[in-house]
Subunit: 508 residues, 2 copies
Amino acid sequence: MLRGWRGLGVIRSASPGTRFPQYTRGYAAGLPELTKDRYSHVKRGNFATLEQNHLKFFTDLLGENRVVSNPSDCQAYNVDWIRSVRGYSNCVLKPRTTQEVSEILAFCNRHRLAVCPQGGNTGLVGGSVPVFDEIIVNTGLMNKILSIDEISGVLVCEAGCVLETLDDRLAEKDLMMPLDLGAKGSCHIGGNISTNAGGLRLLRYGNLHGSVLGLEAVKADGEIMDLLSTLKKDNTGFHLKHLFIGSEGTLGLVTKIAIQCPPKPKATNVSFLGLQTFENVLETFQLARKELGEILSSFELIDALSLDIVTGHLGLKSPIQDFPFYVLVETQGSNATHDEDKMNRFLEIAMKTGTVEDGTVTNEDSKIKAIWALRESITEGLLRDGYVFKYDLSLPIKEFYGIVTEFRKRIGEDAVRICGYGHVGDGNIHLNISTKEFSQDILKRIEPFVYEHTSQLRGSVSAEHGIGFRKPKYVHYSKTEPAINLMKDIKRIMDPNGILNPYKVLPS
Amino acid sequence: MLRGWRGLGVIRSASPGTRFPQYTRGYAAGLPELTKDRYSHVKRGNFATLEQNHLKFFTDLLGENRVVSNPSDCQAYNVDWIRSVRGYSNCVLKPRTTQEVSEILAFCNRHRLAVCPQGGNTGLVGGSVPVFDEIIVNTGLMNKILSIDEISGVLVCEAGCVLETLDDRLAEKDLMMPLDLGAKGSCHIGGNISTNAGGLRLLRYGNLHGSVLGLEAVKADGEIMDLLSTLKKDNTGFHLKHLFIGSEGTLGLVTKIAIQCPPKPKATNVSFLGLQTFENVLETFQLARKELGEILSSFELIDALSLDIVTGHLGLKSPIQDFPFYVLVETQGSNATHDEDKMNRFLEIAMKTGTVEDGTVTNEDSKIKAIWALRESITEGLLRDGYVFKYDLSLPIKEFYGIVTEFRKRIGEDAVRICGYGHVGDGNIHLNISTKEFSQDILKRIEPFVYEHTSQLRGSVSAEHGIGFRKPKYVHYSKTEPAINLMKDIKRIMDPNGILNPYKVLPS
């Protein structure tokens, strides 16, 4: 007898009227302080300042419409979407081709003009906006799909394609993107590659180092690196493409991508479960891996205060009663009957053993979306609290949630909210501490402790968000000095003038 | 009515007495010519020559037993196992620790002594033996498993662990290695990483860039690069580990590895099918992807002349009648009933539509091994023909087999055998042309045509074997000049004296 269980296909309250928020900019009110003021210890590099003759070169190359130089028009490109940093660039360039990118970078390199590459500007560590007055090269107009090979499953496209658009186009050919993340409606695939985005289904479809087959990037001096292989196997020399995956635009500007796309699953099942303790979460994860095997595509944790964000601020409805912890378990597979069998068996055991006390499960598209909205809207909803101190940590799975509890002890009532959610399957937690507004005092009580704690557990101080502007001085908590020195050596040979995304990634 | 079909669990003739050859050295008779003579255009670099005081340093460091300097004892380390190249090193070192490797390399770098890193010496492009008198650093004694985490599935081990040994040890904990290849009984995981080995199940478990979580390597100057993360997500700076994956020991000597291991499948099913045409092979592959979905773990092609090698030279028995083409289709999954269902449905459709004319399928371990032996023994059996010109190409899947036919036209009766087999699922064919003995004339009729043809189809001139000694001058067929220049720049900063595996990978 499964008390409280609603059975396959029944979902309580993802009713009509449930709002699915779009991933939009600027929920946080007002503009953040200029980065140069808030982080006044960071000094502008010895770069040239934009002059009229520079603008003339860009306008000659791109035409007037693709050069934005009016300060008010530039503002949206100067601020990150979580409103944590703000640059003051007066030049946004919108190339359409690799050749244009090449000419822009060659010119900037010659004239020592610093450049900030920008995709969908959905980054969370201040990597995609200028720190000072860097010229913004925005890939928004490089948004062509170049080919989709139905037999091999290989997509080739330009860097500015929006992730969700790619996924929609692939769906027409029974394929899917091997990555998915909350920002999919805005983020560019070029930015995904440049930040080595992980996301919601890494557990099933692997990371980008595994699925990106090739790419094209432009080096700081304008040289085009054609590494756009579409082959699954190619052992001809050093595997250079990986230098551009996750280096956040500091080694080159990614212009094209070839990526291996898995078949679109014939069946998706999603369950949303309520649990009393984090130990129950871990037991349920072990059970899911055992029973769901190769079709387990996501195992996401949401704690009570994280769910409260989306039910409170955004008016979404939870399909089950209140619990300290929730998990979203998803399967994607090729046979609906087999997959449903597996999911049912998993749920039966979880309920029988008592690790799960309540839950709902569905294979209906609209209900699946409603459940996913609970998870995917957290980042956005959080901004309604005020300012958010965001940490994205890899930790040993057993110690995964302990850091949330630790911070509740350390900061307590001085924060609006201290919550944790994330990818249990990847050992990746998003720790968020929201306050009414930015506070140096709170910052000092969080950092560097959060990094020291993570380092002691041999975790990563940035699991998937990257380093960007806000974390270079913490890289050493996850990387050794020889490794950092080698990074600097590589930067030096690939961008000797340091024009590409300066002040980011590498510690000074 | 499925004519000729033997049904699940029935296999005809993998009878007792079938021999499963071990992957052993030296089937080819005699020793090959010295590399310095056969490839006399390659000149020895300006490196120091081994002196007594060098040997004294090594003996002081490692003890007498771990320094091999007697020429006859060194011979096995100087020759590759397919007997295609031979160096004349009089110094083989067998470190046990990373610290020892570091001291060896620091010394060699200081004294300009060239070094050839060596694992199991199962490479196929002459990458793992010296070209001249390079000092051989063999990882055979660095063979400790450091940890296996049953919850996360992460294995950490030293570079000299044999692949099959790792797999056996993981099996005790219901895990498996994410790669498998014919040489598994001899090859070292460090060599697998250094050559970015692909193998038989890449289709299901992905490539090493995706599954290697971290590694430790020693740079040419002896500096230890600790990149031994065990985390699935870690976006803290450039992703340096990928420089060591597939660079064949030219940028550093890999000493430790952390790798993500999937759960051992609860069910494995293997079918061995006979087909009339290559078009039938492609149709069957498409069908397998559709019906077997996420559990399809291998789809291997064997042409008639390839099967003839193992039935003829090695006395193995084929379980089905003769066909122009055979495919081996394997599933690995978490539910025996579901998996068998899927395999049966796939086979029923394949037989009904007539793409497959005969076949056998099994889920019994001994029979699975017997079928796999047919595929895995080809490389070894081929050596019985005499000398083998081996090509390992990635090609668009539709043109995959055309190159075999092309060479039969070009070379015909002057070869003992021209055959093709390989990984259809990865677009990777092994083209082999065997002759009684090495022949410059035949070589000229094969190369550079084989590379030009591959390049025209935008394929890879080395899909998984690497570049090693024998292919640097062909890298440009798959890589552009800017890419090769960047490789050279990276080599220069990581190994300024060029002591690590010289004459390999990079074109001069």
